[in-house]
Amino acid sequence: DDVFKVGISAGLTGYAATVDRAWSDGVQTAVDTLNAKGGIMGRKLEVVVEDNRSNPQEAVTVYRKMVSSDEVNLFASGCVSAGNAAAAPMVAKAEIPMILCSILPKDAAWAFTTLPPAGFEIEKRFEYLRDKTDIRKVGVLHDPTPYALLQKDVAQKVAATYGIEVVSVEAYKQDDADLSVQLSKMQAAGAGAVMKIGLGGTTLTAAKNLKQLGSPMLLLTSLEDLAVFKPVAEVLGDKFFFVASPSQVYEVYPDGGLKTAIGEFLEPWRAKFGDRDPNWASRGWDSIMLAAKAIEAGQSFEGSAIRDNLEKITGFQGTTGSYDMSAEKHQGISTNPFVVAQIIEGKVRIAQ
């Protein structure tokens, strides 16, 4: 009879576009898969997606629309931290749980996130540098978005434990046309590698700039769509490394529960989207699977019941890791699933 409505406020345009489109396609894939099996507890699901242009004001508008016009039962919203934060109080008031891929809003009573802690991406890169290279000085290049700032802070804090020194921290903006000065500064400070934190075409710009400067520094970037990385690899070759989530290196990832979980997602995903990057989409998938689990656990579609049961989820195997939630912890992933990867001759592989 009645469908269970999942609302997505996503930055289908604007700076988060790549990420949020993938996220929302992932959510849709999960919903289709569940519906094919008859839905959750016999109730079908339906997705409502609204574009928030990666802008918090729009985000508020579309959240409002989905709350009052579409009467959604659950939000599986995208990765724009600011927009999610802006809408969080209003969503909480409407008693609708939200599962996100951004950092958690200040008042997170109703919000859960599929995003691993900011440190994970940093630690993997430090590990790699420590174990596989003799580079001990790095520069950190980051954009001013909240998630990037968090990572930057972690990098500065934990570097020493890896025997690494952060010799230079430089910012950039998403629409910068040139990063050479920042890179030159890092090089002048003695950095042997650049840790870039942030999304979008600027990774390509950084790579071009490194080449134009004739710089020997390695480039290690944070998670991003593989489609962006391919041209970067063409420019920098084996000087280019990136943090990859397990789904991005599925073929070469060691067998186990995680690989199985990813496989379940990849099957319908690839059927529909071919070799499009699965990373952010797999989080979207996770969000729905988490919700399904919580609903089934509580045998209730009630917002507050879903919320309470989400808090009780432990050991849930998702596509990016295993989720352990609690009343205090709405960020469920607690073991680092990432690897450092490279693209060599057009093929993604785990860096050696």
Partner: protein, 315 residues
């Protein structure tokens, strides 16, 4: 009596606006959100209209004052627990001071140079909002801002907010109407017509422009404060270039230099995207095309066309 004939078309513009707001009042919910934003924009655009419409100057940087107002409200009410009205007033004072300091050198510029200088001011303010993290919390923004209210009375429901905003917009429209037909308004019009001629009639051109700029900045500041209290949240993107472009569309589509223009312009430009929302990826495309068509077919704006129609009827 010949002279007091009802300006029919202009009245119609007001009636349509009232109907739209009334609809939102009755049905509440999502419509109320959109119309609330539209009314807040109407306040902002009214200021722009004073500066651009009545005084024929141009500013691409009014978002700066909205940001000052908005952030003052946000920071003072959250970090320092001031009441909303006090935060708003402080924001107004800061905005006026900033506008005064900036206005002196800037308003000597003309045309594209004035456009550029004001654009620069808007962009600089935006950058400061992003970079001054210790106060503004950067892109993450400030949440938990209390709703509008005086003492124990708070406008929290959609309808209460709509009523408050409608009253604000009406008061401002009435004020603009009075200014337009006053000595001050005529000196604005004189500066708009010919600065050289205005000066020879004893009008202090620099001061007149500054007054107009301050009015615009004040209204921008108020709109910024209203926004953060209504939404409960603020971040730099609210006051980005996007805001300027939107406000420009509103002021021209509504009708530059008219009293009803800012309101009807804000309503139309806010509703337009909703009309195209179902078009998904083509939404912006449709919006852009609609904007171009409106500009071509109503270059004087809705209220401008109505005014011309009335003038014709009266003649």
């Amino acid at each position: 009596m010949q002279t007091t004939r009802l300006p029919l078309a202009t009245a119609a513009v007001w009636a349509v606006s009232a109907a739209i707001v009334g609809y939102a009042l009755i049905f509440g919910g999502y419509a109320a959100t959109i119309i609330s934003f539209a009314l807040i924009y109407a306040v902002f655009v009214s200021g722009l209209n004073v500066f651009m419409g009545l005084t024929a100057q141009v500013s691409f940087g009014q978002s700066a004052f909205a940001a000052i107002g908005g952030y003052s409200s946000a920071v003072l009410t959250t970090t320092y627990a001031w009441p909303p009205l006090a935060g708003m007033s402080a924001g107004l004072v800061f905005s006026l001071l900033a506008a005064w300091a900036i206005g002196f050198p800037t308003l000597r510029l003309k045309g594209h140079y004035l456009a550029m200088a004001t654009l620069a001011i808007g962009l600089i303010t935006y950058e400061i909002a992003v970079e001054w993290e210790s106060v503004t919390q950067g892109y993450l923004g400030i949440s938990g801002i209390p709703p509008l209210g005086i003492g124990p009375f708070e406008a929290v429901s959609d309808r209460q907010i709509l009523v408050v905003l409608s009253v604000v917009v009406l008061v401002i429209a009435f004020a603009v109407k009075r200014i337009q037909h006053s000595r001050l308004g005529r000196s604005f019009a004189a500066v708009a017509g010919s600065e050289e001629a205005a000066a020879t009639l004893g009008i202090n051109v620099a001061r007149t422009k500054l007054v107009s700029f301050l009015l615009a900045a004040g209204l921008a500041s108020i709109s910024g404060s209203l926004f953060v209290h209504v939404v409960g949240y603020v971040s730099p993107e609210v006051f980005g270039l996007h805001m300027v472009i939107l406000a420009f569309s509103m002021v021209y589509i509504g009708g530059l230099g008219t009293v009803a223009g800012p309101l009807i312009g804000a309503l139309i430009v806010s509703i337009l995207p909703e009309v195209f929302r179902g078009m998904k990826d083509s939404q912006d495309l449709a919006y852009g095309i609609a904007l171009i068509l409106i500009l071509i077919y109503a270059p004087k704006g809705i209220a401008g066309v109505a005014g011309a129609f009335d003038a014709r009827r009266a003649a």
